[in-house]
């Protein structure tokens, strides 16, 4: 029997997938933060037993299908940052939000790096602005993601 309270996690996943394909003007599109990465980082910090590598892998596959990228491209990037996060989350959890932001930036940067690297192998070089822009926006949004998801988690009495 699945615990109904854990539905909250899947619900936040659905919301994040919607945010990832929400139509935006062309010039904003390149700065779209990687919502999937942000939400996965939060849940794996809060409930590392529940949200881990396999969760990241399947989320990545969903994102790949939605975005029409190679199957496994986002999955690989998310699995890698999830691995780093699972090793470090206990130290990061005690930091203040502004300090956490730098950690989030480096994770998003690695995530972006893996994706850009794969795109590069297939002969589609990415511009520097695209490469650096999205992680910065993701980092700036992190405090809100954190606060909102923490409230959601407390309402659902998880963890």
């Amino acid at each position: 029997m699945i615990n109904l309270r854990y539905l909250v996690i899947y619900l936040s996943l659905v919301v994040c997938l919607i945010l990832m394909i929400l139509p935006l003007p062309d010039w904003v599109q390149t700065y779209r933060p990687n919502w999937a990465a942000l939400i996965l980082i939060y849940w794996s910090m809060a409930l590392p037993k529940k949200v881990g590598l396999w969760f990241a892998f399947f989320t990545g596959l969903l994102v790949d299908t939605l975005h029409g990228t190679l199957l496994g491209q986002n999955a690989l990037a998310l699995v890698i940052i999830m691995f780093i996060n699972l090793n470090l989350y206990q130290r990061i959890r005690v930091l203040s939000l502004p300090q956490q932001m730098f950690y989030i930036y480096s994770l998003l940067f690695i995530n972006q790096g893996v994706i850009a690297w794969i795109e590069g192998i297939m002969g589609r070089p990415t511009s520097l602005i695209t490469f650096l822009g999205a992680p910065v926006i993701g980092m700036l949004i992190w405090p809100w993601v954190f606060v909102i998801l923490r409230d959601v988690r407390r309402k659902a009495m998880l963890g």
Partner: protein
Amino acid sequence: MKQVLNQTRVATMHTLILVCVCITLMIVDHRFNHLEAVRTNISLILSPLRYLVSLPALTGNWATEWFTSHNELLDDNSYLRSEVRLLNARLQKMEVLEEENTRLRNLLGSSAKLADQVVVAELLSVDQNPYRQLIEINRGTADGVNIGHAVIDDFGIMGQVVHANRHSATTILISDPDHATPIQFIRSGVRSVAFGNGNTDQLDIRYLPATADIRIGDELVTSGLGGRFPADYPVATVSVIREDLTRGFVSVVAIPKARLDSSREVLVIKPRIE
């Protein structure tokens, strides 16, 4: 302590396995077509999301239609009527020409050209990978849309279908860096290939011989070579000609005819099986 170490080891093992799985998936997906079924199935599960996201745009359209004033409708109506009259007049001429064409072809003994079958589709307002130029349309295999079918709007070729799901299909635009369109210059008959470069308002035609007869403003149509695109649909207009005399080549930049970034209604052309 031992337990913690054990956990770390398990996590590392899982990561390594998943990384290998991802890399295998990517290679298989890039080189072969075996994963098309997996993609289609995941897409089917996610299709409600796509419709949900494009719902605001659809409601917006519906609302503007609903609240259009009587006068505007009358204006529209009279404009459309005159347009229909004009098109009908042109069509009459076309019919005569078509008949003449088939007669001449019969005389020459070559096969008759067949009219193409089309499906009308609408774009789903869904953003895709920022590195690529893909659009999502609301018709799929259930409506006869399949991989390789050409997609056009009312001005010219837009692209072709690369993934077909049951009720939606992903289309690659001709401006995607991975896409090449076989083309022909109408005026001079020179055949070449137009590559996308990632901008919706540019196509590159590289490595034309320096002696090729090309002028700014020349019209490009599909040549029909390669079998994907039907012949003689408008593609682009030449806007810049760059001569690289050191290498003896000419490269051309052309502006696509189709409104790649703003068309909402598109036509999918189903090729006839002969």
